[in-house]
């Protein structure tokens, strides 16, 4: 017995000593790793221009060329770029990075996300920072999406614009003039009816006008029609919604008639994996609301694709632009280098090169009119449709929420759950509540 007791006592002594050492060792290692990591990271970031890019997909080659050209022109700046496939993916990364003080010096993102980030005063005012850029040389419609509270929190590299994407083969077969296009809503309606093909059973073969297949597209077509009827989403100072008036009603009613009276499409038509499977690319839609991104897939699918301007109710044309914009974080240790990159991307040469490679509308007005850009048939058409976009943008931080609210209201009407008036009034009330937060 005594040896055992001694042995237990000895173990206890050993344990006390080991436990202390163990805890000390663990604490010291943790501190050392954290400190080394923090210092290393800070040192690394101080030496590099950290750029998070969303120039993926059809913009990937253009983005890579831009970065390569920048590296050649500015060998003194070490550019460290990371590519994110989707705006939502980059959004998650930026939100958590801003919170953890690990945000990049520079990023390029879809404009509405950038507005959200601006609410926390986390972004630099680029109007003050970009000393070598004349803002009057940039497209006002595109620029408007980065202007909030008088500050230019983002500056577009490029934008897409909306036009009426048409299948020329179907248009010609229907005896319509593909060069002229519909000039007002009445003609648009006639076109859509003439282009719709249904089987005897009623099964839709070709939608005359495929309207939307998600919330964002619902918002988009509603806004285009709202503008077409002479309305706007907000009042002049963006403090109150204005889409619930007679112009909004006209827009929803027009969609309702196309859908339920003329049956030019079915609800949910086109919901699918997207890309090459979209109705236009499968030859199952004669007209769609198209953006620059629509062109490549349609042409690859062998569609005789063309772009026409979107008619307003009583004549004239309208459009929407959708910029992808640079933003520089206020806390960036490399703000000067970040601004150099933006200035470089906004030069005439780079704007033209990016537009030609990516088929997107450049933000520099001179680049929009450059002979090389105008020589590209589709690019020239989207530059033209961009010119019909209103100069004022619905640049509010709660834009994403507003899209859902408006889209649901429109869809509820189209699914015959409520009247257009009820839906729009309820949506306006909801937007007012969101704006008040």
């Amino acid at each position: 017995m005594p040896p055992l007791a001694r042995s237990q006592g000895s173990n206890e002594m050993t344990f006390k000593s080991n436990r202390r050492q163990f805890l000390f060792g663990a604490a010291a290692s943790t501190l050392a790793i954290t400190a080394a990591g923090g210092v290393g990271r800070a040192f690394a970031q101080d030496q590099q221009l950290v750029f998070w890019s969303q120039l993926a997909g059809s913009k990937k080659a253009a983005g890579e060329a831009l970065e390569a050209a920048f590296k050649t022109a500015h060998p003194e700046i070490a550019l460290n770029s990371s590519l994110f496939a989707e705006p939502s993916q980059l959004n998650e990364k930026i939100l958590t990075a801003i919170n953890g003080n690990t945000a990049p010096d520079l990023f390029i993102q879809h404009w509405d996300y950038t507005l959200t980030y601006s609410t926390g005063d986390k972004l630099a005012d680029l109007k003050a920072g970009l000393a070598n850029v004349n803002f009057d040389d940039l497209d006002g419609s595109l620029l408007a999406y980065g202007n909030i509270g008088g500050q230019q929190v983002s500056v577009p590299l490029y934008g897409t614009s909306r036009g009426l994407g048409v299948n020329r083969k179907y248009v010609t077969e229907a005896g319509l003039d593909a060069e002229k296009g519909p000039q007002n809503w009445a003609e648009l309606r006639e076109w859509a009816k003439a282009l719709t093909k249904r089987q005897e059973s009623g099964l839709l073969e070709v939608a005359g006008l495929s309207m939307f297949h998600n919330d964002l597209e619902t918002w988009e077509i509603f806004t285009l029609l709202l503008q077409g009827a002479g309305g706007t989403l907000f009042n002049d100072d963006l403090t109150a919604p204005a889409f619930g008036g007679p112009e909004g009603l006209a827009a929803v009613n027009f969609m309702f008639e196309l859908l339920h009276t003329d049956k030019v499409t079915d609800l949910g038509f086109g919901l699918g994996p997207g890309g090459s499977a979209s109705p236009m690319n499968q030859g199952r839609a004669a007209m769609i609301i198209a953006g620059n991104y629509s062109t490549n897939n349609a042409l690859k699918a062998g569609i005789e694709f063309d772009v026409l301007p979107i008619p307003m109710k009583d004549g004239g044309f309208t459009s929407l632009v959708d910029p992808f914009s640079f933003a520089v974080t206020k806390a960036s240790p490399n703000q000067e280098a970040a601004l150099s990159f933006v200035e470089f991307a906004l030069t005439h040469e780079q704007q033209v090169a990016f537009a030609l490679a990516s088929k997107n509308v450049p933000v520099l007005k001179a680049a929009q009119q450059d002979p090389a850009v105008q020589a590209d048939p589709f690019l020239a058409k989207f530059v033209k449709t961009a010119s019909f976009a209103p100069p004022k943008a619905a640049a509010i931080p709660a834009f994403s929420r507003m899209v859902t609210i408006i889209a649901r209201a429109v869809q509820e009407t189209l699914f015959k759950r409520v009247t257009a008036e009820e839906a729009l009034k309820a949506a306006e009330a909801e937007v007012i509540a969101v704006l008040g937060r």
Binding site: E92, N214, L267, G268, F269, L271, R408
Partner: protein
Amino acid sequence: MALQSSTALARRPQSFTQNWSAYAFLTPALIILFLSLLLPAAATVVMSLTDISFLRPTNFVWFDNYVKLVSDGRFRQAVGNTAYYTVGVTLPTMALGLLAAVALNGKLRGRIVFRTIFYLPVLTSLIAAAVVWMYVYEPYSGPINGTLTQLGLPPQPWLQSPNLAMTSLIVMAIWRDFGTAMIIYLAGLQDIPRDIYEAARLDGAKTKDIFFRITVPMLSNVTFYLMIILIVQTFQVFGAIYVMTNGGPLGSTETIVFQMYQTAFGYTEFGYAAAMSTVLFLAILLFSIIGTKIIRRGES
């Protein structure tokens, strides 16, 4: 007596000093568990009492987010959708899993092949499966509507109609999950002593009676375990909805987790999303506690 005292000795908690090495080995796992699970869970509860956006200054709003949840029509719709999805997936998955397990537990020829085929969807990437099912449900050229049309029946807007979209997602989830149920039931079936079946047969019990009076009761613990697993899993559905319907049409497939994601990362209302998350956590916890108690009662 000797056995009793040795059991009592074994159950008596030993002092920390006697087991220091065991605690030392457990420490890294406990630290990871604390940092990756307990701390974020506690932080989520605290966040739910604030208006945190990660962008603007944060204020404590205490229970405002929870009050808002009660009156939020979209959240109520998401709760209803989640409940419908959970019941719609859990019960048929278990029923089909049990039937498949019983069928493949016998000496059926090619049972290994069938087991593999039924289990394959579980191994398939969810996103790849979702994309394939979008083609399956395609209203104009998909195989389901193609078959309906061949039979002279009208094609259906499977993912396009607010009345059908959630049911369509449920069917896909059952296809994907019933292999798991089958494997768990198979393991449970193999634990049931053969002699019980033999005795029942000697007593003249019919197949139906054997199934309902022996197999089903003997599998009750497995059933409750499976039910908890499936409820927890279906409560958290996100991927398939994100890919296939994005919550639409008209929010008919918007579940709590999907809405939580949209509220947090789409609208940057992290405090409100944390309140949703806490409510979901409590619901899952409640189901888990009830299920565990039922299983323990069954064991005793």
